[in-house]
Symmetry: C3
Subunit: 307 residues, 3 copies
């Protein structure tokens, strides 16, 4: 796996540190502290606000918006809608994390409503979640079949094996399923007009005319809560500082998180510690990461797409 | 204190790692991240969802349900009821942590309502909380005096010394009060048809025909928030993977948590660190614990009961 | 900078450890776990409860109340009002943290309502937040101009540079702006009849007849979420144990937090770690801090005021 095109991602991290974007997160109460801390660690500044009465106003002073449905409630859904519309009006990047979509009708319907009422700059999830998002999109735009892409049969599989907030075993991204997952990501990217980030053993960042296939990270990242949520918050921070270079910004955030996972694992292993320490080292690694380090350790392949 | 009956608890931990049960937690926003991380650390998978509209549906895809009233609200109570009924319908284990019962009428009334509307497989709390649960049960089933057990005068003491979410000083389990606490646990177990877990300096797991008296753990566990909540989440994970061996699964979870507390204290002491590090080492210890280690370090006495 | 008057602050920490006050926190869901853990670390006991139906009742069993508007909602505002009135009725110390006041109309209006309906023993924020609180007070008591103090032009500057929950760059406390900030703090203290704690590179604790200028702390404290919230919870704990010596108790809490920041930074730097570790070491340092250490390392100047 070689880097393609000599692209260096470190400058997108530098830009976060230089601009220090303010990022509005409407997120879940399980991992909210980690999301705030990793946002600060990368150089941005988080603000969490989920009350409908202030949501749009808070968005209006920010550089980006992150919507994470991990523990959505009847109270937070209107706040997500109001904040999202404000962000769209102001041209701010908006990132969606459809946590556990498919685990309940409420989550699925909320994602459909969000997709109908606003445009997302980035959507990030595991394969099972993103298959479900694809289904939602297909349902949403059934009146508009022209937008619908054909995707391979393997990715059309109903995600019934999907377990709560985890990807189903049959949905893990491996070398065997990589091509199909890229096809899914590209189809979804085209339909939603969004950068699509699918994370797993291999991570994919798919945009209009390019796909990043990223091989950083470590399996221990799935042994703590919040690896996905933290990455989603990083995507908000990186996009907030790097408009309009969203695909590059997303690739940089995904590589940064993956490298942090590798470093955190190494420390945990050397010191014979466990997942509690791993979680701390992950945030440490983001807070001390240098642009040069990101340039050197990023393991990605950039596929240019003939259009 | 010797082990009785040659019972080995490690296999119940192995079963969690092998099955990886999905556990629905409706819990409090103070310790929810620690609860999710310790659930992952023991090998299970957590899902947090407290919106009424999805609560029962989420429970229906899970292997166990944990209800913790630590920061209950008007919004979360209906979710607890809906999820609990669904779990009962599906025969899933349900664990209750009546955090701070007695600190407010709302908490007490909510526990009474929960006890009336669903069956709990396990109820866990400190002595003050469990005395209050006993009172609630007595009140609830006042129409049905036949179910009521006589308990010693010392445990009938009103828990007015009870301080918020902590046990009152007069309620700490010591060698002197052990017998009375066991009597309380057994009476409550019979009334509620539940495994009763009372935690303190000595821990008790009481079921129909057996009582485990457990002497693992360290006082520093009471110097962080969440030791109790984390144990409750572990009880959910261990029961979710070990049906119908609930008393044994609870004893294994309590011993595992106690051993983790001992190991975390040792590390904290050696490295001259404080309660921040202790909390991390606690999760580390659960994530690295082996079945053999649990077998060897568990300090419990199993009292068989003549019926 | 020399200590003035030979005041020793360690005894106020000892008092917290000796009395172990129970502190009701109605706070935000981002940093609530850290707030609970640092409350325990200093020797107090936290209880979090934000449901209106139990808020006043929970306050009535406590020694102090902390209100933090970091993620306020329509549901939590009535709880704040009910708890605050109960605390006033019972003569308990009440601490306000107006997080992000000015970032939305809801936050500003909520602070105005809180200021109108209850008395705060202590108000803590950064300079931008405290300027906004001053504006709110001026607005609230516009019928009563006699109470209004003249403050220097520099501190009357509209805090439009105020970024979300952070102080605006022009609002950082430096040696140049110190005198004006002290004037603001004293004016606000007189208007609100509260101890005013303004935190930044230099911290100020202003009361009726004295001002503490405190030079402990480290810039890394602003690179994690919750440094401010944790200090606010410490203020609640220290006031709960040291009535009626509130200015001294606040100065002790601010110095303790600052010393903890210095120690945490030293460890983080020596071990080449990042902000994840820093956050843990901060709580460690509070949990292991001795009164003698607080006496020796506190860096403050006490300015007595001619009245």
């Amino acid at each position: 796996m070689e880097k393609t095109g000599g692209i260096m991602l470190g400058k997108y991290l530098e830009q976060v540190r230089s601009i220090s974007p303010l990022v509005h997160n409407i997120t879940n109460y399980v991992t909210v502290n980690d999301c705030a801390n990793i946002t600060l660690a990368c150089g941005a500044s988080p603000i969490m606000a989920e009350e409908y009465q202030e949501a749009a106003e808070i968005t209006s002073i920010c550089n980006a918006l992150v919507i994470n449905i991990g523990t959505l409630t009847k109270q937070t859904i209107p706040a997500m809608l109001a904040a999202g519309k404000k962000a769209n009006d102001r041209g701010l990047p908006v990132v969606l994390d459809p946590v556990g979509i498919g685990a309940s009708q409420l989550r699925t319907n909320t994602v459909i409503e969000l997709l109908q009422q606003m445009h997302f700059t980035v959507i990030r999830g595991n394969v099972s979640e993103m298959k479900k998002v694809y289904q939602c999109y297909s349902k949403e735009c059934k009146e508009d079949k022209g937008k619908r892409e054909e995707i391979p049969a393997s990715t059309r599989t109903d995600s019934s094996g999907h377990r709560g907030v985890d990807a189903s075993v049959s949905d893990l991204i491996s070398e065997e399923t990589l091509e199909d997952t890229i096809t899914l990501a590209r189809a979804l990217s085209k339909m939603a007009d969004s950068v699509i980030v699918i994370t797993g053993a291999i991570d994919i960042v798919a945009a209009d005319d390019s796909v990043y296939v990223i091989r950083n990270g470590h399996p221990m990242m799935s042994k703590i809560t919040g690896s996905g949520c933290m990455l989603t918050s990083l995507l908000g921070a990186f996009c907030g500082a790097n408009a309009p270079y969203y695909p590059e910004a997303c690739a940089a955030a995904v590589c940064a998180m993956g490298i942090a996972g590798e470093q955190a694992y190494r420390k945990t292993y050397e010191r014979k510690e466990g997942t509690g320490a791993f979680r701390m080292y992950l945030i440490d690694a983001i807070s001390t990461m240098q642009a040069e380090e990101l340039n050197q350790r990023a393991q990605f392949e950039l596929v240019e797409i003939d259009r």
